[in-house]
């Protein structure tokens, strides 16, 4: 069974513990307006115009999952300290988890730490497969109001809540919150997040400003990027304090 990959990136320091290699998979069920990897949203191959080299290329290729193994463990010597390893990201990697299963098994058999970056708004059946192999879940917290989550992101918040409680009872969880004034940092959403964190244990919450690094990617795939207002450091710090005050381990990430 072939998986559809967009990129393999070595030496990633923000996507799980230790030093990691991240496998980016194509296709996502959500449509977050701030998405940092717009080239991975569509499962279909994506035409990409590289401004730097002036060349067109196609993002995405199909490969037998097991054939990825040698490539992604090239840095295995770097995984030794502090639980480094492989992170599956995307897009939404759980959408291809069935096809990934033989690879996940092989990684696990070889004691390679596996993390997954997921929105977790997918069928619970897929989450259960991941639970067999994945050591750490990095789960997004985005827009928690049911209607907004559906209307803005095309997500299913009930499914999300159900999956979060399933995962957080079994595996270490890191929550990630992209910060935008327009969506995630509205007062209403902030309160929902605080309530949510009170009820769902985690190792850590990482918060970060949505970054504009993706703007060239949007241009390259011919999509419009939404303009976001600047998020003040003070606002980030206030939110950080709010989370800290409920006794949750929180970290501000800078890319």
């Amino acid at each position: 069974m072939k998986v559809r990959v967009s990129n393999i990136q070595r030496f990633c320091l923000h996507d799980g513990p230790g030093i990691r290699t991240v496998v980016f998979l194509k296709g996502c069920n959500l449509r977050c307006p701030w998405c940092a990897n717009p080239e991975n949203i569509d499962y279909d191959f994506t035409e990409y115009y590289d401004e730097k080299t002036n060349e067109k290329r196609i993002i995405g290729y199909d490969i037998e999952a097991l054939d990825l193994y040698d490539e992604i463990i090239k840095d295995k010597d770097y995984f030794r300290l502090n639980d480094g390893g492989i992170t599956f990201s995307g897009g939404e990697p759980l959408l291809q988890i069935k096809k990934l299963e033989p690879l996940l098994k092989k990684l696990k058999d070889n004691d390679i730490n596996i993390a997954i970056e997921t929105n977790l708004q997918v069928s619970t059946e897929l989450v259960e497969i991941a639970l067999k192999y994945v050591s750490e879940f990095i789960i997004d917290i985005k827009v928690l109001d049911k209607k907004n989550n559906h209307d803005i992101l095309l997500g299913d918040i009930d499914l999300y809540f159900k999956n979060v409680s399933l995962v957080s009872n079994k595996k270490p969880v890191v929550f990630r919150i992209p910060l935008s004034n327009e969506y995630t940092l509205t007062l209403e959403n902030q309160n929902l997040i605080i309530d949510f964190l009170k009820n769902n244990p985690c190792e850590m919450v990482q918060i970060f400003k949505i970054h504009n690094l993706a703007s060239s990617k949007y241009r390259a795939i011919g999509k419009e990027i939404m303009e976001f207002s600047h998020v003040d450091d003070e606002k980030v710090l206030n939110f950080y304090e709010k989370i800290k005050n409920i006794g949750v381990n929180v970290q501000i990430i800078k890319f």
Binding site: F11, I19, K74, I253, K254
Partner: protein, 679 residues
């Protein structure tokens, strides 16, 4: 008449060159024609070198009795160099080495004299005796000047200097002063790029004694080290070789020991703390590392690197020590290796090892072959490589032949501190040292690998063009073929990538060079060695025609072991470098050169320490980091006044960005942009 003859001799020898270089160096720093003119005129009166007809010992006597001595009232240490006076020179001055300063701490002038007096009569002996006498005179003159100075601590300093004659240092401060005295003597005698050696080992006992007796504290010791760094830096405009900052004042710290443990002490930390604190581009620090290096030492090193000063450079003993033994250095010596001005290993006070004589330009024989051979007859890749090897062999033979024409100027001063010379009664310049090897640096290896890889893919595998057609594009500097040039430049697989084919090709080229080099001796009876990183990536590229890596006529070569691939993972480059073959003669400095954005280290500090620790085990040879952002460099280029203190790593040294020639500034900006994925 005699004076006129001397003058003629002076100005027809290389001494004249030394005078010209002095004025050039002054202008390089101050960039003011009027000031340079005044300096030039002044130098006509003040410039002095003893007559070349005198023996070297007599010259030393003349020189050291004429050197002008200025005693600073404010500096803690006495360090006095008269830039207008030097030794006469016909041959090439020995430079780019360190002596083992523990010798001058453990041996007084009287001891030296006694040691030499036991030698059989020879001109070598005469020169050595005269030189020791000259040092006595020099010391006395300096002591007298101190006596006449306004220094409040003159009695203490005079005692330190008197002790050089027939005593030994009794404190940390005195030991530093003594090292500085002999270091100044070497510079004054015309030896450039003088390293400082393993100061943490050498100074340990003095430091510990003083700490124990509460004579000093850790903090006051650090202040002394800072003062030492400041005073060594003072004349950097004059000490700098090719570019400002390139002084070769390298301090070597830490390292593996005979029993394979890791050595470091409080001074290892103090020296790194001090270089971080003084924020000067020079002197610089090289830290020898092994798998057992303490994590907190790596953290401190990264903290220093993070400031952008470019040091310490890491030298991996896990890889280097076995290569030194394999090459033929005595196992007793190798754990104390130091390096030449950049990073080329040598054994202090036992070798002349001139490790930076010149650079092998790997692309040169390839270009020559493409311009000379009937390319229609080269119809497969095997034949192609066979031909390249033929040209590489011819090039290396001619190149080393030329190098073997170099005559080294005798140096009784250096001989005084070098093992082997007494035993043979032969000056270091004539091959008196125990080790007499020559080191070549290597440049454009990456350009060559990428060129050959592209030729293989496009001509022999894909058969897109014939070799002749392909070569026509190159000969025309790719004019009108921008797409092809871009394709060549942007091959996803290239030098620096963790790719089996690239690694094999790189090792094939260097193995062949090693085979040839290993058959050649130098004129002192030593061997040649070479490395893959060199200071000459701009200096040597100017006359080299376009190459198949998409490089245009005269464009700069790749820098050391680095990749021009945008956003290449640091781990990938380390994996690549760790798989290169450094055996045989291939250990004359092999440095990975990273560009890193300051915020990247700041935001990922602990993981970067993990990265460094794990990389040592993987087996890189040496590594340095240039911590700077393209944004800062671009602004600094446009508004130099706002960035006067901005330091960058250039080759094996750091420099003020503002003081670099334009070509170096632009290359740094280009590399920073690539690293950040912006070009």
């Amino acid at each position: 008449m005699r004076k006129i003859k001397d003058l003629v001799l002076k100005y027809t020898s290389k001494t004249r060159l030394a005078h010209v270089i002095l004025v050039f160096r002054y202008h390089r720093k101050y960039k003011n024609i009027f000031k340079t003119f005044v300096f030039g005129v002044k130098s006509l009166f003040l410039f002095y070198a003893p007559s070349g007809r005198l023996s070297k010992g007599e010259q030393a006597k003349k020189l050291l009795s004429k050197v002008k001595i200025n005693i600073s009232d404010s500096d803690r240490f006495i360090y006095n160099i008269d830039v207008f006076k030097t030794m006469h020179r016909n041959g090439r001055m020995i430079d780019n080495i360190s002596i083992d300063y523990s010798r001058v701490l453990n041996e007084s002038l009287l001891d030296m004299k006694k040691r030499i007096s036991k030698l059989k009569k020879s001109s070598y002996l005469d020169d050595e005796l005269l030189t020791v006498d000259a040092i006595y005179t020099y010391l006395d003159r300096e002591i007298l000047a101190i006596r006449h100075s306004n220094r409040s601590d003159k009695e203490k300093i005079i005692k330190y200097l008197e002790n050089i004659k027939n005593g030994y240092p009794k404190s940390f401060e005195e030991a530093i002063q003594r090292i500085l005295f002999f270091n100044q003597l070497l510079w004054q005698s015309g030896h450039g790029l003088m390293g400082l050696g393993e100061l943490d080992r050498i100074l340990e006992k003095y430091y510990l004694n003083d700490i124990k007796s509460k004579k000093i504290t850790r903090e006051s010791a650090k202040n002394m080290i800072c003062d030492m760094l400041h005073i060594l830096h003072k004349l950097y405009w004059w000490k700098s070789n090719v570019l400002l900052g390139d002084t070769g004042q390298i301090i070597v710290l830490g390292g593996m020991t005979h029993d394979k443990k890791y050595f470091c002490n409080d001074l290892t930390y103090l020296f790194i703390e001090a270089v971080k604190e003084v924020q000067l581009p020079d002197p610089k620090v090289l830290l020898k590392v092994s798998k057992d290096v303490p994590r907190d030492l790596m953290k401190l090193s990264l903290d220093s690197i993070k400031t952008g000063i470019g040091c310490p450079l890491f030298s991996n003993d896990e890889v280097i020590i076995p290569k030194l033994i394999e090459f033929g250095y005595d196992e007793k010596d190798v754990y104390d290796y130091v390096t030449s001005a950049c990073w080329e290993p040598l054994i202090a006070s036992k070798s002349i090892d001139q490790n930076n004589i010149d650079s092998i330009v790997f692309i040169h024989p390839l270009t020559r072959m493409l311009e000379t051979e009937d390319l229609s007859k080269i119809n497969n890749f095997k034949k192609f490589m066979g031909k390249y090897n033929e040209y590489l062999e011819e090039y290396l033979i001619n190149f080393t032949n030329e190098i073997n024409q170099i005559i080294w100027e005798k140096s009784p001063v250096l001989s005084l501190f070098t093992d082997g010379c007494d035993k043979k009664s032969v000056d270091i310049g004539d091959g008196g040292a125990i080790y007499n090897n020559y080191g070549l640096t290597g440049v454009s290896l990456g350009n060559t690998v990428n060129s050959i890889y592209n030729i293989k893919k496009i001509v022999f595998d894909d058969k897109k063009y014939t070799l002749e057609e392909f070569n026509d594009f190159r000969k025309n500097n790719f004019v009108g073929y921008d797409d092809l040039k871009s394709e060549l430049k942007n091959q996803p697989v290239r030098f620096g990538c963790d790719d089996d084919e690239i690694i094999t090709l790189t090792n094939e080229i260097t193995s062949y060079a090693d085979k040839i080099i290993s058959k050649i001796s130098n004129r002192l009876g030593g061997k040649f060695k070479f490395g893959f990183s060199a200071p000459t990536y701009i200096i040597k590229s100017g006359n080299e025609a376009a190459s198949f890596d998409g490089r245009c006529d005269g464009e700069a070569f790749g820098v050391h072991i680095s990749s021009d691939k945008s956003s290449l993972a640091y781990t990938e480059l380390i994996q690549f470098a760790s798989k290169l073959d450094y055996s045989g003669h291939r250990f004359n400095g092999n440095v990975i050169d990273f560009m890193i954005v300051p915020s990247f280290i700041e935001n990922n500090f602990d993981k970067m320490v993990d990265f460094l620790m794990l990389s040592i085990g993987l087996g890189f040879f040496q590594m340095q980091m240039n911590v700077v952002s393209s944004d800062t460099l671009i602004k600094a280029k446009a508004n130099p006044k706002d960035y006067e203190g901005l330091i960058v790593r250039v080759w094996g040294f750091s420099a003020y960005f503002n003081e670099l020639p334009l070509a170096y500034k632009d290359l740094l900006i280009e590399r920073a942009l690539k690293n950040e994925g912006k070009s």
